[in-house]
């Protein structure tokens, strides 16, 4: 079995031109992940700059209203730049800097990873270019402006479906053209080895903190941890330190779009099958001849036809469960959490909130659910208003 495998998944299915670049990255990461100075620097950035640790907040009103399990919210939305993406962006940009790279490139869906990368690049004095599907630049115009404000150049990708998968393809194409001075800050736990491992390690701080915080608050582990899954970086971050704790249910919430029985869905586990794409073996939405499906979700951040290889393995082994949540359900949860807790979650995170709303009432009052609120919902307000038939300007 080749390197970077999670069960049968993962691997390095990339053009030969990139092989030495990923080997160099692997070597650098293997060194710096154990380097005390690198870790000190990263921790200082996460704490002093990004505002970690993020809070674990007891959602009393939601708990009472749903009438079952106690609900805690892991507030990744309170991080600087408003999402969990900054954990990985700071980590990878610091790594790039140590490797002597002067330029970073990244794909983005909802724009959160693009903003986080542009932010880290501004902080560390790196040149930054972001690739974003043209559709998404329209859905998330404010984030496009933010990236430019932060000094990044934003490319609107028009190929294919002009969404996240095309942005990933285009960023790989750009990386193949310019490797020497450039690091690709991949935004999720996907792509060729070592990216799924690097991104997971940088996001694992989420579950490390949840564990400490819930033990402090409740003296026991949660019964379930919920997170939304596109590529799956916030979910793997929230799951990672609980994988060995077999009594903790790990539930990934995929974007069903208009429903898993329609063509307009992005629920990879529910509708995809094993394939090889974007550098990895994993599950992908595809047709019978292996053509990648043009997926759909209201959430630009979950609008991706694949899932990270470690999730694919957790699904195969049954260690994690994956459920599908529709646009309608996510929008309802977006509105519910806003008016019940005064917290506007990202539409991505609202997929996990929605499933918690179904799950909590089926559980007892002494049980605990942690929902990872991966990002804040300001970026989504205009789109959700439009979804409800209200035309507002951003």
């Amino acid at each position: 079995m080749t390197k970077g495998r999670f069960g049968i998944h993962g691997g390095q299915y990339i053009p030969e031109t990139l092989m030495n670049a990923v080997l160099e990255l692997e070597k650098a990461y293997d060194f710096y992940k154990n380097d005390p100075k690198f870790n000190q620097e990263l921790t200082a950035l996460l704490n002093d700059y990004a505002g970690r640790p993020s809070r674990l907040y007891y959602a009393k009103r939601m708990t009472e209203d749903l009438g079952g399990a106690k609900i805690y919210l892991k507030r990744e939305d309170l991080n600087h730049t408003g999402a969990h993406k900054v954990n990985n962006a700071l980590g990878q940009c610091l790594l790039a800097k140590k490797m002597g790279k002067t330029r970073v490139i990244a794909e983005t869906g909802a724009g959160q990873h693009g903003v986080a990368t542009a932010t880290a690049a501004a902080l560390m004095g790196l040149e930054c270019e972001i690739y974003m599907g043209k559709e998404d630049t329209i859905r998330q115009a404010l984030n496009v402006y933010k990236m430019r404000l932060l000094g990044a150049k934003v490319h609107a990708v028009e190929s294919g479906t002009a969404t996240l998968k095309d942005a990933v393809s285009e960023t790989f194409r750009e990386w193949v053209s310019r490797i020497d001075d450039t690091h690709y800050v991949l935004g999720s736990v996907m792509g060729p080895h070592p990216f799924p491992t690097i991104v997971r390690d940088f996001q694992a701080v989420i579950s490390k903190e949840i564990k400490e915080q819930i033990l402090e608050a409740e003296g026991k582990l949660p019964d379930a941890v919920l997170a939304c899954v596109g590529g799956g970086s916030n979910a793997i971050g929230a799951f990672y330190h609980f994988i060995e704790d077999k009594d903790v249910r790990l539930i990934g919430c995929e974007a069903a779009g208009r429903g898993v029985n329609t063509a307009e869905t992005a629920a990879t586990i529910a509708t995809g099958r094993l394939g090889i794409f974007h550098g990895m073996k994993s599950y992908f939405c595809q047709d019978e001849f292996g053509q990648i499906a043009p997926v759909y979700s209201i959430s630009a951040g979950l609008d991706y036809p694949g899932i990270g290889p470690e999730h694919a393995m957790l699904y195969d082994s049954g260690r994690a469960e994956y459920v599908a949540v529709t646009d309608d359900e996510a929008v309802e949860a977006f509105e519910y959490m806003s008016r019940t807790e005064g917290i506007i979650p990202a539409i991505e995170s609202a997929h996990a909130v929605s499933y918690a709303m179904k799950l909590a009432p089926t559980m007892t009052k002494d049980q605990i659910i942690v929902i990872n609120i991966s990002g804040r919902g300001d970026k989504d307000c205009a789109a959700i208003a439009r979804y409800r038939g209200e035309d507002i300007h951003e």
């Binding site: 080749t2 390197k3 691997g11 390095q12 299915y13 990339i14 053009p15 030969e16 031109t17 990139l18 092989m19 030495n20 670049a21 190929s159 294919g160 998968k165 095309d166 393809s169 790989f172 194409r173 193949v176 053209s177 310019r178 490797i179 099958r273 094993l274 394939g275 090889i276 794409f277 974007h278 550098g279 992908f284 595809q286 019978e288 001849f289 292996g290 053509q291 990648i292």
Partner: protein, 260 residues
């Protein structure tokens, strides 16, 4: 000797690429015949993929035109079976890992061999992952073509030592597409390949469009591969592309044979 090796046995080779089904499979069939008649030594047949990550915009659009026209892997097999009756030079498939894997690797390769395909090029399968496809290729009697790139350096030896058919030498960084200039020291790359494997032939691709470039590349290797420039002709002439592509291939074959 494999059929692919024979293609390089006598003289410098010219290898044209075409995306199957751009704009339809009847036209592809005519183009293949025209290429063979014009002196092509080996033909690369692209099976279109929805997300061709190693391609520049010209071939991306060719893929899109083919898929929009309803081309599937099965229809490509049928077309190859037909054209094989008339065309005798070696033909290889060039596509992406998922097209083969998703069809069932063994099933795909058995069928490819049966319709008369001689080899397979998968730009998203490097040396490290070739065990996913190589044993099945060998079983079906197809050569899995290895690629080397300007960034391969110390990897060339390892790749060349196990190479089958020919080595596809990627001329430049980046994706496929026409370039005005190729700056890589191709001669040095080819020498490293031959040191590791004196038996194997080396053809250069990516960025070549003019007869001058083809002549230059062929002078330091065993042949030149051209894709985007041909797909451009498909784009320009559509169903009438076989004639102009035949003429182009003829001029390129003359160029690779030129002695300085």
């Amino acid at each position: 000797m494999s059929k692919i090796k024979e293609a390089f046995a006598k003289e410098k080779a010219f290898i044209p690429f075409i995306t199957c089904g751009d704009p339809d499979l009847e036209t592809t069939e005519k183009i293949i015949e025209a290429m063979a008649a014009a002196g092509a030594d080996l033909i690369e047949l692209g099976i279109p993929f929805s997300d061709p990550t190693a391609e520049g915009s010209v071939i991306q659009e060719g893929n899109l035109r083919a898929l929009s026209g309803g081309v599937t892997t099965d229809k490509v097999f049928d077309m190859v079976r037909r054209v094989r009756q008339k065309v005798k030079i070696p033909m290889v498939f060039m596509t992406y890992a998922n097209v083969v894997f998703s069809y069932g690797t063994e099933r795909f390769l058995t069928k490819a061999a049966e319709v008369g395909i001689d080899g397979l090029i998968l730009p998203d399968v490097p040396y490290e992952e070739k065990s996913e496809f190589a044993p099945q290729c060998e079983a079906a009697g197809l050569d899995l073509i290895s690629m080397i790139a300007p960034t391969s350096h110390d990897r060339i030896k390892m790749i060349a030592a196990e190479a089958k058919g020919f080595v596809y030498c990627v001329s430049s960084l980046g994706v496929t597409g026409v370039r005005s200039e190729i700056t890589t020291d191709i001669g040095a790359m080819v020498r490293l390949v031959k040191e590791a494997n004196p038996e194997v032939s080396c053809a250069v691709g990516f960025g070549i469009s003019t007869p001058e470039q083809a002549a230059k590349m062929a002078a330091v290797s065993d042949g030149a591969i051209v894709g985007s420039a041909i797909v451009r002709l498909c784009e320009k002439y559509g169903r009438e592309a076989a004639g102009p592509i035949g003429e182009y291939v003829r001029s390129m074959k003359v160029a690779v044979l030129k002695k300085d």
